[in-house]
Amino acid sequence: MKATLHRREVARILLQDRGDLLVVAGLGSTAWDVTAAGDSPLSFPLWGAMGNAAMFGLGLALAQPGRRVLVLTGDGEMLMGLGSLATIGVQRPRNLAVVVIDNEHYGETGMQRTHTAAGADLAKVAQGCGIRNAKLVRSKGQLALLRKAIHHGAGPLFAQVKVIAEKIPLVLPPRDGSLLKARFRKALLGEGADLD
């Protein structure tokens, strides 16, 4: 089945009226997607640590049980950290959603095919790891339901969103790691975040 969704539109819809949602964006295209939807101090785009986005989300979700946390990452990034789905499946935080924007390619390195192009089913992996609410998303209708679940549903939640493999202009977030960390903590924890 051919994908019909565009990745930038997926990010835009999921992050529309994001309120106090905390966002971790995985290395590469998903970090640009999240930035294109509107940069925010409450977005933490990863410029490295490939395979670790979901775990950043888990640590954050456990630390902030009263806030919703969305990890938005790519298929290549998720494939590098599949074990983290098993780790999330043990902890089962109700406030965590992991959404993979799956274009079946490594977008930043020459559009080589990933394992999902050969059929690796990440939603099934997540389900097998104990994340019961794990879905494959292909349509705009499903996307609207996914947005609702991210903001209001019971987690942990996993979704693999199939998108068109397309080369689109980069929209880059700041890349200074210390700055990204400091602005996130200040926006979430207040001015006194680093004074204790």
Binding site: A49, N52, M55, F56, L58, G59, Q91, L188
Partner: protein
């Protein structure tokens, strides 16, 4: 002296709590067995079993973004699994507290543990982690206490290497019997 030496996991548990640690990520190791049990039994701590040590780096970084302190427990072999992830700790200046039980040192019975065990300090230092060694039981708690202050007070990545001499496993049979 002997009794005190065998109670270091209990003291370490108290030290971590006093340092404000709320999340403890771990990949099981025989040397950390008692401390892991204490953390799992403590409702004020979230003990997170990891499928690989690298996950712990993300967990600790995410915890800090959310205003919580984390500690990681692992064996020296696991340090090798953390290398690239440690790059994000250095770039973002995340505090990090790692308690590493050493293998591959004096008395090692498994030759496959030796290469990573011997390289542990060099690997950590190459990635910008401050390394302290605890070569006897009495040195562990003060070393971790100081490491926690350096990590969370000065935003440093700090590892305490707990010597194999302290843990004292000498054979596969002994390890299996624990």
């Amino acid at each position: 002296m002997k009794a005190k030496a065998t109670r270091w996991p209990e003291e370490l548990h108290r030290t971590l709590k006093a340092a404000g640690v709320r999340q403890v990520g771990y990949v099981p190791d025989a040397g950390h067995q008692r401390l892991i049990e204490l953390c799992l039994a403590d409702r004020a701590l979230r003990a997170v079993v990891l499928s690989t040590e690298e996950e712990g780096i993300g967990l600790a970084a995410g915890a800090w973004l959310g205003g919580e302190r984390a500690a990681l427990l692992m064996q020296s072999s696991g340090v090798g699994n953390c290398i690239n992830a440690l790059g994000s700790v250095r770039e973002c200046r995340f505090p990090l507290l790692m308690l590493v039980t050493m293998r591959g040192q004096v008395g090692e019975f498994n030759p496959w543990q030796v290469p990573m065990g011997q390289a542990t300090r060099a690997v950590l230092e190459a990635m910008g982690v401050v390394v302290r060694e605890a070569n006897e039981a009495e040195a562990i708690v003060p070393a971790v206490d100081a490491a926690a202050r350096l990590a969370f007070g000065s935003y440093q990545a700090v590892a305490v290497l707990i010597s194999q001499a302290v843990i004292g496993i000498k054979s596969f049979q002994e390890q299996a019997a624990r």
